[in-house]
Every structure is written in C-alpha cells, then in structure tokens.
Amino acid sequence: MDEQRTHVISTLVLNKPGVLQRVAGLFTRRGFNIDNITVGTSEQENMARMTIISKGDEKVLEQIIKQLNKLIDVVKVRDLDPENTVKRELCLIKIHAISEKKRSEVIQYANIFRGRIIDVSPETLTVEITGSPGKIEALIDLLRVFGIKQIARTGPTAISRGTLD
C-alpha cells in the first residue's frame, strides 16, 4: 500500500450554481476523503478557485485529479507541491472573559500570534488570527483555559510560491 498523504488540490472552476455540488458529489460517490474545501472568486472573471484538502495515497490522488478534470465545469486542476505552497487559514475565536486580568492575557496571546481583537463586549473578546493550520491550533490550545465560546474557521486555502502555476 502506498503512503497516505495530505494533498492540497487547487482547482479553477466555472462560477456557476451547482459546481460545489458536482465536486462534493464526486468525492462522496467515489469514496474520496475531503478534509476541507474552500471556495472563492479568483483572478479570472466567471471563475472561482476551489481549494480542496484531501488525504489519500498516490493512486487515490491520481483518480481525484482525473475525475475532477472530467467535470465539464472544472477548468483546471493542480496538486500543489507541499514544499512550494503557502497555506493559510482564517480563524475567529470568541472567548468568555470578564476580568481585566483574563482580558489582558488574551490580548497578549493574540499579539504574540499576530492576531487581533476584532470585537469586544462586557463578557466576550473575539480574536481574529490567520496563519497555517498548525499555528491556529496552537493559539486555540492556549486560549482554551479561558473558556472558548465559539470558533469559526475557514479551513485552509493555498497558493503556489513564486511564479509556479
């Protein structure tokens, strides 16, 4: 059996209704795993970039790419090389913090991780952080002791380094 690896698959798709369903349906039907999927507009008009994070061996990856390519609304598919890819995620963390002491600790942690406080209420603070999924995990772990009320993560999106396609 080949080695299981996490792949970042970047696709350019037509920005039409139903495209997400086509892609998601393909993964379900063929038993491919999806860890994460992000969709947003791209540099090209009428096209969206869909970034899919999936685990599998080389054979599975090959099938994923080929099957994606068969979808008429999928224009381009790339398996991004992990060595030459930057991967970022946005995360919002709402923390229960009333005391001054707690609040200032949260703000300090946020600062160390280059996060920002984007919302404050008498009972809560909301931290915004972007970074690699690992960095986000680390901050979440640190903040857990204060009492996290909610987490909203976008899941990672990715782009190749330099002039690579």
């Binding site: 139903g18 054979k59 099938q63 008429i72 224009v75």
Partner: protein, 581 residues
C-alpha cells in the same frame, strides 16, 4: 422566438428528426410546438422506454438519441434509462420538464431536483433559467454527448422558460473552457507500446465498447492481423471484431468463453482498447492477466489505472491511436518480422477443443439451440438487443456477432427492461435492418406496455421472450451459491405472452420444439409487423460462470463443447512470475 420553439429549432439544427417522449403538465408549451412541427415524436408508454429507445437509437446509429419526460415522476422514470446510457457511454440527450422558475424549491406539484438526481448519472447536465440560454445549451449538450468519452446529457427545462420570448441570434458561440477531450495518442507512448508488442511472444487484444464507439473496428482487425494476435472482447465490445475469424476468442469475463479466459490468463502482453476493466470482465483483479504487461488505450484518462495497474497507458481516441500504432509497428517490423506462430497455433488447437455446443434436440428447448436458430435466421447486419440475465449472457456467449453496433446490451448497469425498448429505438434509427430483441420473461414484463408503441407506430421489431418462468440469472446464483434455496425467483404461470401480444394487436407466436424458432422468426421478419415470440425454454439450463471474487480461470458449471469427445484442453497452468522480468 419562444423557449419551446428554440428547443425544437435547436434539436433540428443538430440533425435530430425523431424524439421519444411522454408529455405532462409542465411540458405543455413544448408539446404545443411539437403539434405542428415536422420533428417526429414517438409517444412511448413509459418514460423509461423513451430513454432506452433513445439509447438504442444512439447505439445502433452512432447519433445522439433524444428522449423527453415531464417534471417529477417523468424525470424519475427517465433516470434508469439515463443511468444505463451513462454506464455504457451512450450518447443521449434527456430533456426533462421542470416546474416554473418561481416555484422551484417550494416543493411544488411534481417538482423534483432533476439536476441533483441526474448529476451522478450524466456526463453533464444543465438547467435552463432563461430562454436565450437554450440554443447554446442544446448545442453544447450535443457536443458533450458525442465527443470524447461519449455519454448522456440532461437538460432541466422549467415551464416558464419554455414560454419566455427572446430574440434568437444565429451566431451564438458555445464556450466550454473545461472540456477538451484528448484525441491523439502520445507518440512516445505509441513507440513504447509498439516495441513491447513486437517483443511479445503471446500477445492478446482485449477490445471494449470504446472500439465500437470510436468506429475503429477496421483498425482493430488490421492490428490483429499485423501482429497476429487473437482478440477477445468485453460485452460492450461484442461486434467490434468478427467472431467467426480464426483469431477471435469471443467474450471474456464472468460469463466469458473458456478459451478467452484461459488465454488472457496466459498471455504475456495484453493490448486493451476502449475498456474500463469492469469487475465482470476482469474477475479478481489481483489475478487478472498475471503474466502480461498491459497496454491500455482509452479516451478517458480516468480509466487508466482505475481498476488495473497499467504498464503503458495511451490516452486518445482509439481510432487515431490505433492508426498511429499500426503505422509505427509496420515500420518497426520491416527489420524484424517477429513471430507469434507458436502462440496462434496453440490457440487454434485450444479453440477447436472448447467450441461451445449449440445443437440440442431437447424439449423444453435449450437456449443454445434457440440462439443457433436465431443466428441462422438473420443476416449479420441485423441488430440484436438483449435484456439482462441469463438471456443476455447466453446471447453474449453463444451468438456470433461480426459487425459493430449490431449487438446492443445493457452492460454496466445491467438494466432489466432494456432489450425491448432499445430494439424499438434501433429499428427507428435503422428501419432497413432487421431488429430482434432477445429478452427474459421477467425483464420483458417490466416494459411490455410499450407493445402499444410498436403497434401504434408500426415499428416491426421481433421480441423473442426466452420464457423459463424464472428470474433465471438470480435463480442460477441461488442454485450455485445458496443451496438451491429458490427465494422469490419463480415467476409463476402467468402471463400468456401470446395473448398479451395479441391484446396489443401485436402478432404472438409460441415456439416449443427444435426447428420452430427459425421458421417462426423468419416468417415474423417477413411479415413486416411487430411480433412477439414466446419461446419455452428449459428452466434448468445453467451457463458456466466464474463466481464473483474469483479469478477468471475458475469456471464453475459444466462447459459443454461441440466435440463429442473433447481432446485434452492444452491449457498450461499459469506461471505466476512475469516472463518479462
């Protein structure tokens, strides 16, 4: 122009002259235009038959077949036929009505998510939300359905879009940036394949449905003669190579010919063309062609390596790839003729000793005898369709086909009820050819209401119902693998198929003894009228098979051969290590 008029115009612009359909509330605008259109419409008696008929039309003629159904139940009834076409890469266009755009999503009367339902069973599908999208959509649909790896396309058509007025522009463009099928094979791969083929001492060609779809039977024959390699086919590839040729091995797989299964096991180079390595063809994948290097030619890159590991893949249209392959091999051969004579001699011996026995004088009739008489009654350009079950596998195994597009069968989906409506579609496509459907009693009953259609439209197909009063194929598995516990596979004593036919105004005949099939079929064809022949066959006849999950050499059941005293079958047990390494 109205949306509904644009549909008819666009279909006609694509060369469509006939459609199979069934109307309903949301299709009233479209049917109103059909009323005085010269586009011919055949009113089937069940939407499933519309889809199968369009499929049969496509398989027989190579042109895109068109079927129409209303929203909701009309669309769901089309689904089986669309899925059948999808599995066998058959180019059809299915148009389904939809509730008005303002009602979509509100669980309106007869609303169903047709787009969602057909997404996994079409090559692509569309929903028209504006009438001005229709011309481009239909043109794209035909282009997608009929190029690359062919397949069904569905269009979801809301009622108000059919009624909407728009300004028709003749110079519209279609834009499919995500669709660029590869046609030419990679020259480097073709060179590699040619070298491997010339080095091989025991080559075999496996031809799939892709050979039929790409119209490359001539090239297949030429390649086989050039490299002196025997040819076996999948069910879908049947007809792509003349089965009376000395180099033909017949069908491979679960119900394949013994010679084909054993020779593929032994070969050192397997050249696979337009084939998706279905489990029904390969048997246990790990034991498939254990001694061979495999060359795989296919237009769909996703088929390469999907089920079986490939040594030399070539992505491209089989016709174009085979043409270059033949050229390259011919050139390379000049200095080095090579020889597979030992191999082909061995295979001829082998073949002679396991030609399946067809002649039986038993009553009730043996299906082999029936099939022999059918073969003797019709020309090679006659089109036969099969249903699914024993009838299908008997036909695949025993019936000799020579010409592509003359053997039509539901392979991938194995859809009972396919045979009769597909025959109807084939006959409509090619009225000059005789068309015979060979069905099981179970499968035919699933679609028998369309006897009304063949009567009303005078479509003179002949349906041979191989009547064993059993869901024979399931019964066969119960006999072989479930201790003969015949759970719910006996069909009882009704109907009387002759009377059933007559109730529809269709000729009904019954055949019970050897010799009668030939006579009855010939007179049915001569009559020029739709005819049903009720053929009473032996319910106990079993077709030898490879049990699921086994290697294809592990055939169970008695393999009856033509020779009275069969010679020793010179099969050499496989040497599991690859000779090449």
């Amino acid at each position: 122009m109205k949306g509904s008029e644009a549909i008819i115009k666009s279909l006609k612009d694509q060369g469509v002259d006939i459609v199979f359909g069934y109307p309903g509330g949301v299709l009233l605008p479209l049917y109103d235009v059909l009323y005085d259109s010269d586009l011919k419409h055949i009113l089937v008696r069940h939407e499933q038959c519309a889809a199968h008929a369009a499929d049969g039309y496509a398989r027989a003629s190579g042109k895109v077949g068109v079927c129409i159904g209303t929203s909701g139940p009309g669309a769901t009834n089309l689904v089986t036929g669309i899925a059948t076409a999808h599995m066998d890469s058959s180019p059809i266009l299915a148009i389904a009505g939809q509730v008005g755009t303002a009602l979509i999503g509100r669980d309106a009367f007869q609303e169903v998510d047709t787009l969602g339902l057909t997404m996994p069973i079409t090559k692509h599908n569309f929903q028209a939300m504006q009438a001005d999208e229709i011309p481009g959509m239909i043109k794209s649909a035909f282009y997608i359905a009929s190029t690359g790896r062919q397949g069904p396309v569905a269009i979801d058509l809301p009622k108000d879009v059919q009624e909407q007025e728009f300004e028709y522009k003749a110079d519209f463009q279609i834009d499919l940036p995500g669709y660029k099928p590869t046609r030419k094979g990679h020259p480097g791969q073709i060179k590699k394949a040619s070298n491997l083929i010339l080095k091989s001492k025991k080559p075999v060609i496996l031809a799939g449905g892709g050979v039929v779809l790409s119209e490359s039977s001539d090239e297949l024959l030429e390649l086989s003669k050039l490299i002196k390699a025997p040819v076996t086919t999948t069910l879908m590839g049947k007809g792509s190579f003349p089965e009376d040729d000395p180099l033909s091995l017949g069908m491979l797989g679960m119900h394949g010919r013994k010679v084909a299964n054993l020779v593929v096991d032994e070969c050192d180079c397997l050249i696979v063309i337009g084939c998706r390595f279905s489990d029904r063809t390969t048997g246990k994948v790990d034991e498939f062609a254990p001694n061979a290097k495999i060359i795989h030619i296919d237009v769909d890159p996703a088929e390469i390596g999907k089920n079986v590991d490939i040594d030399i893949p070539i992505v491209g249209d089989a016709k174009i790839v085979l043409t270059s392959l033949i050229k390259t091999i011919s050139k390379l051969k000049e200095g080095n003729p090579g020889s597979t004579k030992e191999w082909t001699d061995y295979i001829s011996d082998f073949k002679i000793n396991c030609i399946p026995r067809l002649s039986f004088d038993d009553v009730p009739l043996k299906p082999q005898q029936v099939i022999k008489e059918i073969r003797d009654s019709i020309d090679y350009d006659a089109i036969v369709t099969t249903d699914v079950g024993q009838n299908q596998m008997w036909m695949a195994h025993y019936f000799t086909s020579k010409i592509p597009r003359t053997f039509l069968s539901s392979g991938g989906l194995g859809t009972m009820g396919f045979g009769f409506p597909a025959a109807m579609g084939a006959k409509v496509a090619l009225p000059e050819n005789d068309v015979v459907a060979v069905c099981g009693d179970g499968g035919f009953l699933m679609v028998c209401q369309d006897l009304a259609t063949v009567r009303e439209y005078d479509i003179p197909v002949v349906v041979c119902v191989l009547n064993n009063r059993y869901l024979g194929m399931v019964a066969q598995w119960q006999k072989l693998f479930y201790d003969e516990r015949m759970s719910h596979t006996h069909l009882g004593e009704v109907p009387d198929f002759v009377k059933l036919a007559e109730a529809f105004g269709v000729r009904g005949e019954r055949v019970e003894k050897p010799g009668e099939m030939k006579e009855t079929l010939q007179s049915a064809l001569k009559s020029g009228e739709p005819t049903l022949i009720d053929v009473i066959i032996d319910p106990d006849e079993i077709l030898p098979m490879v049990p699921p999950g086994c290697g294809i050499t592990e055939i169970v059941g008695e393999y009856k051969v033509e020779r009275e005293v069969p010679g020793e079958i010179p099969y050499r047990a496989p040497h599991k290590e690859k000779e090449w390494e």
